[in-house]
Amino acid sequence: ADVKPALVYGTGGKFDKSFNEAAYNGAEKFKAETGIAYRDFEPTGDTQGEQAIRNFASRGFNPVVAVSFAWTSAIEKVAAEFPDTKFIIVDSVVDKPNVRSVVYKEEEGSYLVGVLAGMASKTGKVGFVGGMDIPLIRKFECGYEQGARSVKADIEVFQNMTGTTGAAWNDPVRGGELAKNQIDQGADVVYAAAGATGLGVLQTAADNKKLSIGVDSNQNHLHPGSVLTSMVKRVDLAVYNAYNDTKNDKFTAGVQALGVKEDGVGAAIDDNNKSLITPEMQAAVDKAKADIIAGTVKVHDYTSDNACPK
C-alpha cells in the first residue's frame, strides 16, 4: 500500500542520544531499506504535539507515529478526526480502531540491568534517578530493584525522581545533583531513566568515577568505561515495524507489548562496556533473560497495581 510516513518525536529533540534518537534510527532504517522518505517533527513544547500530528494527518501522511506518552490525548483526539489514517503511539495505550499502541515491558529490561548493577556494585548500594514521577518511570525502578535484589538480596536501592512536570525530562543539573547525593550515600552504580536529565546523571557518575546505566538508546558510548550498560528500548523497532507493516498491508491496531522475549527491551553490551562486564555477569544476565522468556522469573509490573513489592 501507499505509505507516506510521518514521525512526531517527544520533546527531548531528535538527537537526544536516547528515546527520540531511537525512533529516528528506526525511521532512517526504513528509509535506507525502501528508499521511501518520511517527514518528522520535533516539538519543543507540550502544546505542539497535537497540532503537528493533526497537520500530518490532514496532509495525507499515513501512518503517523507519535513517540512519547505525552501525545496520548492528542492521538485520542486526532485519530477520531481522521479515521482512515493509521496512528502509532509509543509508550501509551489509546483504544481506537486505527491506533496501534506500542508499549514496552520496561520492567523486564530494567530487571536485566538491575542484575548487572547488583553484581557490579562493591558497596552494596545502587541508585536510580527517574525523570518525571509517573507510574511509567516507577515501573523502571521496580524492575531494576527486583533484578538487583535477585543477585544481592540485601542490596540497598536509592531512588529519586527529578520532578513532577515535563521539565523533569530536561533537567540534567538536578539529575546530576540527585546522582551526586546517591553517590555520597554510597551508591556506586546509578541507573538513569530520565530522558535528557539522564545525561547529567551519567556525567556525574563519570566525574565521580562511578558506574551508571543508560536508558532507551544504547548510551554506552557516552562515557566509555563508566556506563555499565544501557537498558535499550527498541523504539526503532516500533517505528520501523509501523512503516513496514503499513507498506505491506499488515498494519494491526491494538496493543503491542514488547518485552525481552520480543527483543523489545534488553541490556546493551558492546565494545564500550565490554571491560566492565565480567564473564560471570554476562552469564547471569543471559540466564535472567532465559528465565524471563521461559516464565520462570516473573518481573513485577508496577503499573498493574501501582505498587512495588519489597
Binding site: T44, T47, T72, D133, P135, T164, G166
Partner: protein, 367 residues
C-alpha cells in the same frame, strides 16, 4: 533644543513610530532566520499563510488572540493605576484553578451556558485572589509590586504543580492534569462565525471566550475612561501626590486595580482550559501572561489597541507554528525571539526614533 517634549501629531505618535518599531523588530527576526540558512521572505509568507490562509489558521490565530486580549487588559488596567503587574502569568494560572473547579463541579449537571458565567466568576476570583497579596503588600507596606508579582508567579507555579500532581490528578494517569470536562464544562466553538465568512474552523479551538474577551474589553474601556473609579485609578497612575490631595484613597485604589487586573488575567484561563483542552493542565498559561505585557505596550494600554496587538501576536503564534512545521530548521521558539524583539523595540526603545521623527516633522512643516 531637546526633542523630548516637542509634540507630534497622533498619526506619527500612534501610527508611524509603532510601525517603525515593529518593522525593526521584524527585520532583526528576519536576520535570525537568514542566519539559520532559511529565507526570511519565505518564512514571512508561510507565517501569514499559516495564520490567515484558511479558516482553521484564522481560528487558531483568534484562539491565541483571545488569551492575549485578557492578559493584555490585565497588564493595562494595572498600568493605568501606575502599577506594573508582571504577575499576570501566575494570576492566569490560578484563574485556571478557579475555572476548572467550577467546570468539574458543574459539568455533569448543567449545560455550558450555565457553567460559563460561574466559571468566569470563579476564574476571576482566583486570579484576583492571587493578585491580592502583592497588591496588599504594595498598598500597605510599600513592597515593590514588580518584585512581589514575579515572586508570586513562582509561588503560584509551585502551588499549581503541587495541586495537579497530588490532588487534582486522575489516579493512575501519568500526566498531571484533571479529568476531561464533560460537555457542560466545555465552551462551544465559534464555527458559525467562520461560516459567516465562508470559512471552516476545522480543529481550531476558537471559542466563545473570544466574545467574552470583546465584551470585557469594552467594559475595561468603560471602567478606565468613564467611571469614577477609573478616573481615580488614572489619577493615581500619573500623579500619586495629586491623588492624595484629591482624597483618592491610595491603598484601596491600588488593591482594587490589582484585583481587577488579577481577575482579568484569571479569566484568560477560560479560553485554554474550558475552550480548548477541556481540562486543567500543568503550565497551560504558556507565557500568555508575559505576552500580555507586550500586547499592552503595543496597544498603548487602550482596549482597542490591545485587541489589535493581541491579534498580531495571535498571528505570530499560529503562523510561527506553521513556519516551524514547514521549515523544520526553524523551531517554534522563533516566536519568542520575535516577541522579545517586539517588546524591546515597541516597549523599551519606543522613543528611539522619536528625535529623528521630530526633526523630520519639523522639516516637513517648514517645507
Amino acid at each position: 533644543m531637546s526633542t523630548a517634549s516637542v509634540p507630534l501629531p497622533n498619526w506619527i505618535n500612534y501610527g508611524l513610530i509603532p510601525l517603525l518599531n515593529l518593522t525593526v523588530a521584524f527585520l532583526i527576526s528576519g536576520f535570525v532566520v537568514w542566519l539559520i540558512g532559511e529565507s526570511p521572505l519565505d518564512a514571512l509568507s508561510l507565517l501569514i499563510q499559516g495564520a490567515l490562509g484558511n479558516g482553521e489558521g484564522i481560528g487558531f490565530t483568534l484562539y491565541y488572540a483571545t488569551s492575549f486580549i485578557f492578559t493584555g487588559l490585565s497588564v493595562a488596567v494595572a498600568i493605568h493605576a501606575g502599577l506594573f503587574n508582571i504577575g499576570s502569568e501566575g494570576q492566569a494560572y490560578l484563574g485556571g484553578l478557579g475555572c476548572a473547579l467550577v467546570a468539574l463541579a458543574l459539568d455533569r449537571y448543567v449545560p455550558w451556558y450555565v457553567t460559563m458565567p460561574i466559571a468566569v466568576v470563579g476564574a476571576g476570583l482566583f486570579g484576583a485572589a492571587w493578585a491580592f497579596i502583592p497588591a496588599f503588600l504594595q498598598a500597605k507596606r510599600g513592597s515593590h509590586i514588580v518584585i512581589t508579582t514575579i515572586m508570586f508567579n513562582y509561588i503560584g507555579a509551585a502551588l499549581m504543580v503541587y495541586l495537579l500532581v497530588h490532588v487534582l490528578i486522575v489516579p493512575g494517569k501519568m500526566a498531571p492534569e484533571t479529568r476531561t470536562f464533560l460537555e457542560g464544562g466545555q465552551l462551544p466553538k465559534l464555527g458559525w462565525v467562520m461560516q459567516l465568512f465562508g470559512a471552516k474552523l476545522g480543529a481550531a479551538p476558537f471559542n466563545v471566550s473570544f466574545i467574552i474577551a470583546l465584551v470585557v474589553s469594552y467594559l475595561v474601556w468603560l471602567l478606565v475612561w468613564r467611571t469614577k473609579l477609573g478616573f481615580e485609578m488614572r489619577t493615581l497612575g500619573v500623579s500619586p501626590t495629586a491623588a492624595t490631595y484629591a482624597g483618592i484613597p491610595y491603598a484601596r485604589t491600588v488593591i482594587i486595580a490589582m484585583l481587577l487586573s488579577g481577575a482579568l488575567a484569571g479569566m484568560m484561563a477560560l479560553n485554554p482550559v474550558m475552550g480548548s483542552s477541556a481540562r486543567l493542565q500543568v503550565e497551560f498559561v504558556g507565557g500568555a501572561g508575559f505576552v500580555g505585557i507586550a500586547v499592552s505596550l503595543m496597544g498603548r494600554n487602550h482596549p482597542l489597541g490591545i485587541i489589535m496587538a493581541a491579534i498580531l501576536f495571535g498571528i505570530l503564534y499560529q503562523g510561527g507554528d506553521w513556519v516551524s512545521f514547514e521549515m523544520p530548521n526553524i523551531t517554534r521558539e522563533m516566536i519568542l525571539v520575535i516577541q522579545g524583539l517586539v517588546i524591546l523595540f515597541a516597549g523599551a526603545l519606543e522613543y528611539m526614533f522619536r528625535p529623528a521623527m521630530v526633526r523630520l516633522y519639523q522639516q516637513l512643516k517648514r517645507a
